[in-house]
Amino acid sequence: MATESSSPTGSTGAADRRTWRRPTAFRNRYTKWAVYGAVLALIAWSVASLRITPGRFLSGIGYGYELIDSMLPPETGSEYTLRLFDRMIETIAMAMVATVAGIAISLPVAFGAAENISPKPTYYLSRGTISATRAIDGLIVAIIAVIALGFGPLAGIVAISFKTIGFFSKLFAEDLEDIDMGGVEAVRATGASRFQSLVYGVVPQVVPRFAGLAVYRWDINIRSSTIVGIVGAGGIGVLLQRAYQRYEYDYVAAILVAIIAVVLVAEFVSAVVRRRVQ
């Protein structure tokens, strides 16, 4: 840019001190300020176009207060609790089945997507599968599954399994790429077959990561299976949706408390197991 400080005779005088500035990630300082300005303007425009006035905000708080008031105390009638319990069992069962099914499908995809052990065409195919399954949000998959398979837990299982593939394959493939190839190379050098070097050289190195990831995904799937019911794909979400529609906010509160309790337990179990295996 500018060269204000360079003197034509060289840089020997004390008046001719060299200056230094940290280089910016943008091409120059003008670009930098222009980008910052543009980002701020975009945020301001977004807020303005939503037309959320301070008055609207305050009345919103009022509604919120009324809602919480009608939620307390949570509904604990035995018939309600029984139905809640029933649906919660279904929710957990859905998560279990979907985790097992999803991981079973993920395994070949993960090995295919590990650059160090997979041939190039398989690698690209597997990476493509992963990207595709990650691109669509779980709820959209659940809606499609409900349309295709009808209401009920089967649709939920399909949707959650589908989402498991993208997550599990991607992370497990990364673990596979991180293994120490030295041991694998040595096993190969003894004359072992491809399959043998896989089960003898690769698998032992990733078993703990596999267990950790499986439990982690199980805990995520429990959370997902509480929501897919909103679109009719089984589990406790169905109950939640119905309670909202009937304005049974005290029952909604009871369901939310149950969800929070189950998710916390799942997260705790998952954390303990992961700490143990790693």
């Binding site: 041991g183 096993v187 190969r188 003894t190 004359g191 077959s193 399959f195 003898y200 050289g201």
Partner: protein, 282 residues
């Protein structure tokens, strides 16, 4: 018997790691290959079991032409080549016994490998080798609990349990302290004697090479510039190997420092050396 002829390797990047290396290793010889970093020592050793694919030349192990083999044949051939690595290259999460037995994988089915179901004679052999390398009673330890020296012993046991026709060692002492390095070298030379198998060790510690090897090969910039007994390794020859110096004139009358046990494994010294001083053959 291992014989390489005009073995060359040029990496896809264009680096010529190895040029025209012809060597013959026989009997129960302990051969040390020395040379500066990047001289092609590792490339040479890895070409032999084709962990690195050579670009030119041939490799024969007894009567098998290794460079001509397809995948299945190569697997069978690799069973006859034991290899010891610088970083031990063990499978860390497996037990000592599993690592040793992995040397027998070429002889068992996939299913047996999965179930760690090896024939009793393999297991017996593995126990014997663990005693030989001084790891008796350690079979159920996981390898990542062992020290560097112990790990290298497991690596050696894994290579020897193959009952190979040649034992290759790629910088087996570089990750070890001097004391353990000597133990490992001693173990390797003992194995050559006891098992009647030639051992090719690629090593950068010249004193270890001189102390333990019957024969020394010197590589400089991918070319074989020395092939002779340890006692013939003079300061001049070290200069040739490590600094690429031209061999001094006086040695012209004493060809012994350059010529190996047989004419086949004669050394060449590239474009800059006067070919009149070399046992020319082409």
């Amino acid at each position: 018997m291992l014989e390489t002829e005009n073995l060359g390797k040029t990496y896809p990047t264009g680096d010529e790691a190895l040029r025209d290396v012809s060597v013959r290793i026989d009997g129960r010889e302990v051969v040390a290959m020395i040379g500066p970093s990047g001289a092609g020592k590792s490339t040479f050793v890895r070409c032999i079991n084709r962990l690195v694919e050579p670009t030119t030349g041939s490799i024969r192990l007894d009567d098998t032409e290794l460079t001509a083999l397809d995948d299945d044949e190569l697997r069978d051939a690799r069973r006859n080549i034991g290899m010891v690595f610088q970083e031990y290259n063990l499978v860390e999460r497996l037990t000592v016994m599993e690592n040793v037995l992995s040397g027998r994988l070429g002889y068992v089915s996939n299913w047996a490998a999965l179930r760690r179901n090896f024939p009793p004679e393999d297991v017996e052999r593995a126990y014997e080798l663990l005693e030989l390398v001084g790891l008796n009673g350690m079979e159920d330890k996981r390898v990542d609990e062992l020290s560097g020296g112990q790990r290298q012993r497991v690596g050696i046991a894994r290579a020897v349990v193959q009952e190979p026709k040649i034992l290759l060692a790629d910088e087996p002492t570089s990750s070890l302290d001097p004391e353990t390095s000597r133990d490992v070298m001693e173990l390797l030379t003992d194995i050559a004697d006891d098992r009647d198998v030639p051992v090719l060790i690629n090593i950068h510690e010249v004193d270890l090479a001189e102390a333990y090897a019957d024969r020394i090969l010197g590589l400089h910039a991918g070319e074989l510039v020395f092939d002779g007994s340890a006692s013939n390794l003079t300061d001049e020859s070290k200069g040739v190997i490590y600094r690429g110096e031209e061999p001094p004139e006086s040695t012209a009358t004493d060809p012994d420092w350059l010529s190996g046990p047989d004419d086949e494994s004669s050394a060449r010294n590239g474009q800059d050396a006067g070919s009149d001083r070399l046992p020319a053959e082409d």
